[in-house]
Assembly symmetry: none
Homo-oligomer: 413 residues x 2
Amino acid sequence: MVVELISVGTELLLGNIVNTNAAYLAKECAGLGLSCYYQSVVGDNWERLKAALTQALERSDIVILSGGLGPTQDDLTKEAAASVMGMELKMDEESFKRIDAYFKNRGIEMTENNRKQALIPEGAMAVQNDNGTAPGVIMEKEGKRVILLPGPPGELKPMFEKSIAPYLQSLQPGIISSKTVKICGIGESKVEDMIQDLIAGQTNPTIAPYAKTGEVHLRVTARAEEEKEAKKLIKPVVKELKSRFGQAVYTTKEEVTLEKAVVDLLDANGLTISTAESCTGGMLGARLVNVPGASKVYKTGFVTYSNKAKRKLLGVKKETLEKYGAVSEQTAVEMAKGCAFAGKADVTVSVTGIAGPDGGTPEKPVGLVYIGCCVCGTTVVKKFQFIGNRAKIRESSVSAALTLARECILKYH
Amino acid sequence: MVVELISVGTELLLGNIVNTNAAYLAKECAGLGLSCYYQSVVGDNWERLKAALTQALERSDIVILSGGLGPTQDDLTKEAAASVMGMELKMDEESFKRIDAYFKNRGIEMTENNRKQALIPEGAMAVQNDNGTAPGVIMEKEGKRVILLPGPPGELKPMFEKSIAPYLQSLQPGIISSKTVKICGIGESKVEDMIQDLIAGQTNPTIAPYAKTGEVHLRVTARAEEEKEAKKLIKPVVKELKSRFGQAVYTTKEEVTLEKAVVDLLDANGLTISTAESCTGGMLGARLVNVPGASKVYKTGFVTYSNKAKRKLLGVKKETLEKYGAVSEQTAVEMAKGCAFAGKADVTVSVTGIAGPDGGTPEKPVGLVYIGCCVCGTTVVKKFQFIGNRAKIRESSVSAALTLARECILKYH
């Protein structure tokens, strides 16, 4: 089945807010096995709203509209959708009671405007809103479906999860299940090369690669009558991917990020980590601290952006800096070793590079980054040449540093 | 004139990325006085891309497409747009030279695929890309205009600013000019309260507030026959805003960020800075290093996530940690003072707080953050109670730390 998303709101057209709802709904729908070919944004305008919905219904089976369900005169989505679907609006007693209770619970008087929110197209289903006053709506007619959701993400997301996802799931034969194999340290094109044969002949399950900075995620999705059956289809594919990518697979859990994988690996081995950063200026530390509870393993971070700080805090030798430069294999090694001494951790990671936009030379171009890792006395250093602007080079460096730390722990501990 | 935005990319349809480009372009176009009634998203699909562009050209004067200019076979935007506009693709020598130089500068071999990026529709203008390989394109035909921009925000934004905005400006009667007054340390609603009278009666120029984390930007926009005249209209409004918000205005320059304002202020006063971070884990250092050339003023960063690191590296007293806890006024003060000693800088900033999701208590709830600042011997500490999730609390902390550093330098130096 084909779904289409229409986001309604002048604030989106003016760029005052970013359309995170569309990304959320798109991802959820893809996860449910629905195809989506179009997303659009229109303002709170009667004619344009109706035209957009009419066109969407011509080319898609299900249209999800978000926004424009508020109590004010500007909010037209429900009225326009009812008009396109040829339905009359009627007061829904259940919704009215809920809205009334919502206000009473907060000690606020319900205004006349809010009564409008309890109007539901005749024959449609009202969907309760646990986090606001606007109910959602599901309309069905002649094999087409229109779903209306409130605009605030704090209302839209829980409503989708609780009521809309099960509804969409019920429309489809069987169920959809998926698992993500997360890979670090191998580039997107190489990953795709390595699974071309699997992708070429795939039907059920399917494998979809998603490139992230320094990572590639492979989402394996299966459709079956029952959850158990879908999982059975997924299992051998995940196993095959794991065997092809080996240790580069850092997790198959949705909620585990690369930094969490590193923190968990350290924790499981009773190890601690400290960091020494130059061009990333603290981003590596900040990534580790993204993980709640990182304090168990993360001891100290040194941001040694200046040569003087590299010398004083990490004991990098003056001669090393003079002879090889701050961006060199030798400096990365001394930073990692010095960090092990000063930061008193089992594992240390150092980053030094040229993030640009200035400071590049033909021998040491912008994007050149050395990453060192010292695990229980063994020091490894890797050279990278990243592409992109200052921010991208620094992000790539952090991902590479986490990947190297993980590799070294697995290898040398 | 009416503009319409089409974002191209399967990753948008799958919800793997959020469409920040659309928000950026919408805002910029609104600032240029263009009306926008529709935004849409389509995948890298020949037929649907052409259909979307054809429809957009029927109802709008200018269509801006972003994404799908990459080197792979999937990238079809330029080919589809040229087909709709009835133009042939031709190798553009200038673009080819630029792409070649881009790779040479990075010491990488240019692939055959990248040659495709130098193909430009005949009669169209190539727009140079300072941050990547894909040139932008401007096509004009029979009063309609199609603009193609690369998808990565780090390429799209600078290209829009440098080349596309002046081009769009040139199409319109008179000109639009704007200036942004950037304010830190005052909340959005308070800022809006303080300028309600100015906003109420505004016609030309207009004032539009944009809330950022820890900042509010007021964009003053005027329309006039000539640039000079527009600037004359803007000047008294900016002056009035500066007088109302005083030192909270950290810049009126488009390119100056809060971290750049702090780095520039330090540099102008011949001062250096070091940082001591707990819950932000290096994010404050990373923000400072966002500024190219921050090495002039940024000496050292300490990430002391554990109590032990706070003691060993910054000399925070064991008794202080035991009596008041790691998240306390006293610890923040000792971290800032210790950092001044260990980091040998004129200005030091410390951050310690509870970023959550766990670790909160009724006395010290999630979101409680203390920020200390020591300037040439004087130490100031401020208490904050931030709202939001772990990431939001940490971002708010970093903005507050930069704001406090700025305040203290202005006051105590």
